[in-house]
Symmetry: C2
DNA sequence: CAGTGTTGCTTAATCGTTTAACTAAAGTGA
DNA sequence: TCACTTTAGTTAAACGATTAAGCAACACTG
């Protein structure tokens, strides 16, 4: 078996034509006769020719690689977004390189450097929890590489963004909980410096006021939103003199931690305390009781992100500017908030 | 700001030396004076030089990219393996391209083609559930590219493999369940054509015999091991005349489905029926009751896979051969199998 | 039949980096 | 001083594909 890889040179030699003719034949250039094209393709198949992507990328100045930066892949939201990005881009001849930041700003920067070094044609990213400094992302922009943000974005970067309406989502949740008769609703939110979590917090506060419910500083807690921190913050709420009768947690993972603590304390969910999460992770339908949550339309977000990137490639003079595509999220009501 | 990218040519011009000298200086070649090296590095920094990875990869015939093929990324096992592969390889200057097959053989093949096209230096893979045809993988081997398999492997490929001892794991589980007093233990296993699931099944059968427990064909069921199928197969077991008093499920996801069905039928876990899963996914510690499971040492597997790849690169004449690295799995006993 | 197009290729430069082979200058030892 | 080694570079040819420019050969037109 041929150990060395076949190049267009081999094909050219076999047919006694130039490598240029071979290259054009393989790209169906109109200036090559049908006869030659067929001959070239036949030989290419026989020799098991596979184009050297590096060479063509170098010559054409584009790699057909798109970098994806996510906080982690082992959440259903991100893995579903990624899957859909991949599906759309593969069809157009692009491949994706997935990197995870593990919510670390340092890792995120290193990942971005890696992607730039690999000469990706674009980057689709969702920011780490830690990220406040935007230098890394500015660097991408300054290189003239399309940058598309989703879910965890930042207006100040002035780039395309795809996400859901977090502010409205909070309203939907509070609306639902008040309908269930809840009067003292707490919120375990994310860090305020992250725009989406801040929007959820603002939505929570405004909705509480709108429904003329008590606003109590003790009921609004910032959290890293891990399962472990969800446990801690829920315990904190239970330790209050005046306990809430409902808790809205800005992430399903943290909500899961909260759920465990409630059960360990033999608290009746939802009758003593109702619980609503965020993200509609598959496990929300699997725990007992099943957990109400917000569906973020991950598939749609992935598709839109990929299509937005493609728009940038197709439109050469398209300049980066703040262009938000906001999807309307959907509240999935399950047992954890259905008060009898 | 410089819109065009800086190349070694720019550095060479700035210092009136050759590009060769610049290249060598940047690689700390011994034949370049310290003075020149320093000057080159200084100018490189000033001009914000970033090496063109494509060019160097083309010239050196290696891309420093490693492809990873997994069934999916949104399981803790795979995402943890990936994270550890990445950690080890990044340190050595390699980047990884992650692709998911979604358990589809077709997608797996396309992913592999993509990776080969991208000129990866090696591929680390875990096979899709569907995969029985090994042509795609033979293709990798025939190109002379190192292939390392983990978890879902296949002896016939004669390549490196890293995994746990599935056969022994089954023994551990049956041992534990009999100690708890279980006498009629069922197994919801994976498809027999997948080696690891077959090993778990063989382990189950042999352990049952060893403990002189009844072997009943109705107690051994093959499954796709999704949560949904776990529900179906558990229901099937409940419909039996003579129900089991323990069920060992070959995947945590399917075990979760089983757990739901048991709860819906108001069956006391573990006292009526004990339950053990496989994989030690984080949710096993979060559901009620917490689910006993097998820790597969994902971090260790990722590290070993990466290190095995590096061994192939370092040892030029290392030929591909069946070399198994088997880790001893650990049984994590939780409430679902602690009979009072 | 000269002029103009069209067809179907070839030539050669190019992308940015690496590296084998060469060279000039300086240093070393007897 | 001569022969030899060491040092610090330079030159030029790759790597494999793409593409602008060139050029035969033939067809067509008025």
């Amino acid at each position: 078996m041929a150990n060395k890889k076949t190049t267009i040179k081999d094909i050219a030699n076999a047919l006694s034509i130039s490598t240029a003719a071979v290259s054009k034949a393989l790209h169906d250039d109109s200036r090559i006769s049908t006869k030659t094209k067929e001959a070239v393709k036949k030989v290419a198949k026989e020799l098991n020719y596979q184009p050297n992507h590096l060479a063509s990328a170098l010559r054409r100045g584009k790699s057909n690689l798109v970098g994806v930066v996510v906080p982690r892949t082992n959440s259903n939201f991100f893995s579903s977004v990624i899957q859909n990005i991949e599906e759309v881009l593969n069809k157009k001849g692009y491949n994706i390189i997935i990197t995870q930041s593990n919510e670390s700003y340092q890792k995120e920067c290193r990942n971005i450097d890696t992607l730039l070094f690999t000469q990706v044609d674009g980057i689709i990213a969702s920011m780490a929890n830690e990220t406040t400094n935007l230098d890394c992302f500015e660097k991408i922009k300054s290189k003239g590489i399309p940058l598309i943000l989703f879910d965890r974005g930042e207006n100040d970067l002035n780039v395309d963004y795809i996400g859901i309406n977090d502010y409205d989502s909070s309203h939907m949740i509070i609306e639902h909980l008040t309908q269930q008769g809840c009067k003292r609703i707490a919120h375990i939110g994310g860090y305020r410096h992250t725009r989406i979590f801040n929007n959820r917090i603002r939505g929570y506060i405004d909705a509480i006021k709108k429904h003329k419910l008590p606003t109590d500083d003790a009921l609004l807690i910032e959290s890293s939103l891990t399962t472990e921190d969800g446990r801690l913050k829920m315990q904190q709420l239970l330790d209050l003199e005046d306990r809430p009768d409902a808790v809205y947690v800005a992430s399903d993972y943290a909500a899961l931690g909260a759920l465990q603590v409630l059960q360990e304390n033999n608290i009746d969910i939802p009758n003593d305390i109702a619980l609503v999460g965020f993200g509609d992770e598959p496990f929300t339908g699997m725990v007992t009781p099943t957990l109400s949550s917000i569906n973020q339309h991950s598939a749609e977000i992935g598709k839109l992100a990929a299509e937005t990137f493609l728009k940038h490639v197709d439109t050469t003079d398209l300049k980066q500017t703040l262009h938000k595509q906001i999807l309307q999220a959907e509240l999935i009501i399950r047992d954890s908030s259905k008060i009898k």
